[in-house]
Amino acid sequence: MGLDLSPFAEVVGPASSGPVWIAGQQSRLAAPSSIRRVTAPSGIYDLQPDEMTVVCGAGTSIDELQDSLRAVGQYVNLPRGDSGSGSVGGALAIGRSDIYRLGRGAIRDTLLQARLINHDGQVVSAGGPTVKNVSGFDVCRLLVGSFGQLGFLGEVILRTRPIPQSSRWFMMSEAGPEIIEAILRRIYRPASVLWDGHKVWFCIEGNSRDCDETIQKLSIDLEVPTEIAGPPKLDNYPFRQSVPPAELAEMVHDHAQQGPEPLVVEAGVGIVHRQTPAEPQATERTIELLHQRMLQQFNPTGRLNPGVSLTTGSMA
């Protein structure tokens, strides 16, 4: 990687230079007005389709990155922001996967290497440039979902994937838990299965003829799925909750009994899309202690993105 990060390091400044906030496109988390803001470099520096990697500044727009990758038949497993494209660094810092996690995997596996600015304004490199690497401890996994509190991402190397030959969505209108179970068991690696307790929407990616045959087989003893243009809109479900996927069926059932608020769940994954926030979970004491120690090591003065809660992702 060749991007000169020293100007970025300079604006972040040394430990003595006070609180600082990294702002991307603010499509996921708004920057507080009272704290000095910095912005990560942007731009695509190296795109190697035969390596399935791309090097870019953390401030790069996700839409711009996906457009460039689309031209070579690839994509990167990073979700757009809640309100617009969002930046690469923002998606990684928040660390939340999108509705395709069941088939495409978690966002955390996308980051191969990062160059970041630490709490003292120094450039730190983590991970490695190749798709396979076990050289030292995996700092990159820790950075994804750290809300910028362990360091500000400057430049990243991301793993890319081939765009599937086809990506088709289907819907069934009468879907109880047994239908969800049948879909999870009988469809080969579905990309996404969304369920609101009544309807199920699912996505199959890959060869279109395989997809046709899968639907035919499913239709033998189940309702014939209707092909639809895309996933259901989840704009009315701004809150998310994470639960073990084995608990989803009971949760959806109980929820339907208790009140009118609808839920959409990611079957096989465990994400619940809600209209109201869920009760906050208690953090286990040892986990809290490990968080404290990690922050003490990486952000001892607490100057990087101060005030944001690692556990809720919101300002304290």
């Binding site: 955390r108 630490n118 820790l142 362990l150 040892t286 490990l290 090591q297």
Partner: protein
């Protein structure tokens, strides 16, 4: 407890305490017993002080609390198949074997997860869930004997990780005993556990962050169609370029392995699979999934192979032929015994487009040091495994082997690669870490270690070239590159 003649006087009290929390027969101190644990599958020897065999999480906690009380380093050990000295005990450390913690605890076939104990063998897990149409994707060459706990410690890979990812992508949670004996679950069955990805940080930490006592794994659906093909080339360059072309064409095969001529000769003499021994290189390519995709990709890959000069393309016609081709790949290390009695297996990763360039340099290095080198490796990942074969009875040969190995590592990193793709750093490459990482980078890694293990007693003196807890010199044995 057996005779404790081998135990250092300072360890008597510690051993007595260990025998209070474990059945004495599961606390080994006799020289003949603990000598077996002085190394892993690498050439690096250390010295175990005592070897414990806990069977429950509580027992692991008890053993570690005693180690903490005595400020005694401990080393977790699965099957000891590691190749970088990660499980080599130093200075009479307490070895905690998880071999007896090997049960499958539960399986959820719908959501495709399972809880297991760390001593479960990799292949045993896949066998146990095969009737559900599931498998565990990471498949190191040692999968018949390596443990899942060891896979977690090393973030292991294997031929079939090209498409599905390495161990970290297949572990949802780890129950971990930290160095003060406290118990914590990192990650969880839920997809977004609260806070930092401590699970991801723990995986690949080579036993230096604590010991895992239960693991929640993600299982993969078995494919319904598979095609395995062998294509051979008259030059390594043509084979390497084919690898890049396949990936650039938008395909990620389930596996994409390469063997060079010397390897093909050795394997063919061993298993008689009809391998093309006159070829400079052969690619073993496997495509799996649903039938139409598999057929289409097989055809496209064959076309790419032909366009890059493949002389023959052999597609396995049945499961028996497929198994034979894979046997050739997976028994390569056994086959080399026909050439020389000893080998040193290396593990680096380079960008795919640099495969040929680095391989040619590997051949030059071996020639310069008057050594034979075979190459059998995960070409799709750019994960090289140069295999230096030798007879260690030859005077001076070990010096040449180590010198050649060091040059291979340096060439790989200089080409834009990394120190290790799946074996880890351990002791073997500890002092090469500065080739990849500067002081600030290493400090960040050290910070992770301190956060997990402030006592510095979990498998110390591995991975990091300047241990944060101590700068002592240790009795690092023969085989380490220092």
């Amino acid at each position: 407890m057996k005779s404790d003649v081998s135990v250092q006087p300072m360890s008597h009290t510690l051993v007595s305490r260990l025998c209070q929390v474990l059945e004495p027969r599961r606390v080994h101190t006799e020289a003949a017993d603990i000598d077996l644990y002085k190394r892993d599958a690498s050439n690096i020897e250390g010295r175990a002080g005592v070897v414990c065999f806990p069977i429950t999480t509580t027992e692991v906690q008890d053993v570690i609390r005693i180690c903490a009380e005595f400020n005694q380093p401990f080393v977790a050990r699965g099957s000891g198949t590691g190749l970088a000295g990660g499980a080599t005990p130093l200075d009479g450390a307490v070895v905690i074997s998880t071999a007896k913690m090997n049960r499958l605890l539960s399986v959820d076939p719908i959501n495709r997860t399972a809880w297991i104990e760390p001593g479960m063998l990799n292949l045993d897990l896949t066998r146990e869930v095969a009737h559900l149409g599931l498998h565990f994707a990471p498949d190191p060459s040692s999968q018949q004997s390596c443990t899942i706990g060891g896979n977690v410690a090393n973030n292991s890979g294997g031929p079939h990780c090209l498409a599905d990812g390495v161990t970290s992508s297949h572990i949802l949670a780890c129950e971990v005993v930290l160095s003060d004996g406290s118990l914590v679950v990192l990650g969880g069955e839920e997809p977004e556990p609260i806070g930092l990805d401590l699970r991801g940080a723990f995986i690949g930490s080579e036993g230096m962050f604590g010991i895992t006592t239960k693991i929640c794994v993600r299982l993969m659906q078995n494919y319904s169609a598979v095609k395995t093909m062998l294509m051979d080339f008259t030059s390594v360059q043509a084979g390497a370029e084919t690898v890049s072309a396949i990936i650039a064409a938008g395909m990620v095969p389930a596996a994409l392995e390469m063997m060079d001529q010397l390897c093909l000769e050795a394997v063919e003499a061993y298993i008689h699979a009809g391998l093309p021994t006159d070829a400079a290189a052969a690619l073993l390519v496997e495509v799996s999934g649903l039938p139409h995709a598999v057929n289409e990709e097989t055809e496209r890959i064959s076309e790419i192979g032909r366009a890059h000069g493949a002389r023959t393309i052999r597609i396995a016609q049945d499961e028996a032929e497929r198994a034979l081709l894979w046997k050739g790949r997976k028994t390569a290390f056994g086959a080399i015994a026909r050439i020389k009695p000893n080998y040193y297996l290396h593990d680096t990763v380079v960008p795919r487009r640099k495969l040929n360039e680095v391989l040619q340099e590997v051949y030059r290095i071996a020639k310069r040091h008057e050594l034979l080198v075979l190459n059998v490796f995960h070409a799709g990942d750019g994960n090289l495994h140069p295999l230096l074969v030798f007879d260690k009875r030859e005077p001076g040969v070990m010096e040449r082997v180590h010198a050649a190995g060091e040059e291979i590592v340096r060439v790989s990193v200089a080409a834009g690669g990394v120190l290790s793709g799946e074996h880890g750093i351990g002791l073997e490459k500890r002092d090469f870490m500065p080739l990849m990482f500067g002081p600030h980078d290493l400090h960040a890694q050290s910070a992770m270690r301190v956060a997990f293990d402030p006592l510095g007693i979990a498998n110390p003196f591995k991975v990091l070239p300047s241990p944060s807890s101590c700068g002592d010199a240790h009795d690092i044995g023969e085989g380490m590159w220092v």
